[in-house]
């Protein structure tokens, strides 16, 4: 919601949150109207508790080119991808016994941060996805064709996504150390999971205080030259910042 220029009252008015007026006489007892359009193409996913992901069992719509990852030939989704689509009525999530898991319950799954995504991560994810960006968890390959992947574990039959995630977690496991959460690509209708190319930037989620210079520096080292952006979420408002090193040119 950045606005440049403008002065005085007008700028203030533009920047304020949009608030629905609950005092309008016709808004009392008004049945809730969905913000989303009725969708005729609804995909279906089944939650796999062990994998901590949903497996897509019915694929509808064109968003699958940029959503979900391929594991053992199957299309799987993280919880934030599922919730984003479910909120929009584009996906129904069921438990293994076929029962529908409603959006309220999916919120609860995210709140627990049990499946690698916190509430704030979801808000950042949703914000960028709504704008058309392609967003995936940092450190997670788009596709894994077979089980044999460089993994330090002794047991080759282990689920390799888990293995990958765990080793990433362990690498970053220092209390209150900032870490990279998502990799983000510009909107791209020709995006291919099999050859995604480099992301446009990597995203680090912030809570609490702004990052210190040394925290930024440590993260930059992990970025391998890719641009780094920070996301700060406050009371549902999502903001993005960069702290790029930019030496000023020497003037004549």
């Amino acid at each position: 919601m950045a606005r440049s220029g403008g002065r005085g009252a007008k700028e203030g008015e533009e920047e304020e949150e949009h608030h629905r007026n609950p005092f309008l006489s016709n808004s009392i007892n008004k049945p809730w109207t969905s913000k989303t359009q009725f969708r005729s193409e609804v995909s279906k996913a089944c939650w796999d508790e062990e994998m901590g992901m949903g497996e897509i069992i019915e694929k509808k719509g064109s968003m699958w080119a940029t959503t979900g990852i391929i594991r053992k030939g199957k299309l799987c989704c993280h919880i934030e991808e599922i919730l984003f689509l479910a909120e929009r009525g584009a996906l129904i999530l069921t438990s293994p016994d076929g029962k529908t898991i409603n959006v309220g319950d999916i919120y609860k799954m995210i709140l627990g941060s049990k499946f690698g995504c916190s509430w704030e991560s979801f808000e950042a994810y949703r914000h960028l996805k709504s704008l058309g960006y392609i967003v995936q968890r940092y450190g997670i390959p788009w596709t894994l064709k077979n089980d044999i992947i460089c993994c330090s574990s002794n047991s080759p039959s282990e689920n390799n996504t888990r293995c990958f995630e765990i080793s990433n977690l362990l690498q970053d496991m220092q209390i209150s150390e900032l870490k990279l959460t998502f990799k983000v690509y510009l909107p791209n209708s020709k995006f291919r999971k099999s050859s995604p190319g480099d992301p446009s930037f990597l995203l680090c989620l912030l809570s609490g205080n702004p990052p210190s210079r040394s925290e930024v520096e440590n993260l930059e080292k992990k970025c391998d030259g890719l641009p780094l952006k920070f996301c700060y979420i406050d009371h549902g408002r999502v903001s993005f910042f960069s702290f790029d090193k930019e030496p000023l040119p020497t003037l004549p």
């Binding site: 002065r7 203030g12 304020e16 608030h19 007026n21 109207t33 969905s34 409603n102 627990g112 408002r237």
Partner: protein
């Protein structure tokens, strides 16, 4: 430009506000929620509360939380910030709080949780509840470079009047570096002016230095001060000597 009094967003909104005093709406909210004591789920700084239609309507009217419901259904889902959660839990005593696994969170636990997320939570909450007790509507002000923004009534009806900065004090001395250097103070003042709000400082003090428990809330005191820039060039007519918000 002189900014005096509230700026209503519509012609009849001042009357709407008069006909719907915030004190009454808050009271109705408490009456609506207390019998059922709905449960809010806690995660970090956020709590999610599912509310029945009547309660949802009142939460909207008091402008507490953010309605994040995207779908039809009986219940509506509200996202609450730390001060809002604690206000409903402790101030109005009309909700319970639990973790997503269902275990209830006791008052002291909730207090400690928010304090661990934010060092100045005691002062921030004291400021929030102080303003709410005077029936101002309080929302997050981070985006404006302040702790809170305060509205005379619902934000849909009126523009925010104050950008609120909370300055903790211990035994009369500031315990934060906020506003302790001129560039910071001028920055806050200029920023507030450019978004047409007055800068309100709430000095929240403790004498005993104890901020460790909910009980310490009672001992915190709040002093309201307004920082304004006075422009002598504009005040020579004598019309306004008190102050003139800079809107350069």
């Amino acid at each position: 430009m002189e900014l005096t009094g509230p700026r209503w967003k519509g012609k009849e909104f001042a009357d709407t506000a008069l006909a719907n005093p915030m004190s009454e709406i808050v009271s109705r909210l408490r009456t609506s929620l207390s019998p059922s004591m709905p449960n809010a789920l806690l995660s970090g700084c956020t709590a999610l509360l599912e509310a029945e239609p009547d309660a949802a309507d009142l939460l909207e009217r008091t402008s507490i939380g953010q309605n994040i419901t995207t779908f039809g259904g009986d219940k509506q889902c509200f996202q609450l910030g730390p001060e809002e959660s604690f206000y409903l839990y402790h101030g109005l005593a009309c909700i319970r709080v639990s973790r997503e696994d269902g275990t209830a969170v006791a008052e002291s636990e909730l207090w400690n949780h928010f304090c661990s997320e934010r060092k100045t939570f005691p002062e921030l909450y004291k400021a929030y509840s102080h303003l709410r007790s005077k029936n101002w509507v309080v929302r997050s002000g981070t985006h404006y470079g302040a702790d809170f923004v305060a509205y005379r009534h619902h934000p849909a009806l009126v523009h925010a009047e104050y950008a609120v900065l909370v300055v903790p004090e211990n035994d009369g001395k500031a315990s934060s570096t906020r506003l302790s250097a001129w560039p910071d103070l001028c920055c806050s003042l200029r920023l507030c002016g450019s978004v047409a709000k007055t800068l309100l400082i709430l000095y929240v003090s403790t004498c005993s230095g104890d901020r460790s428990s909910v009980c310490s809330l009672e001992e915190l005191t709040v002093e309201e001060r307004i920082i304004r820039r006075w422009i002598p060039e504009r005040s020579r007519e004598g019309k306004c000597l008190a102050g003139d918000d800079e809107t350069q």
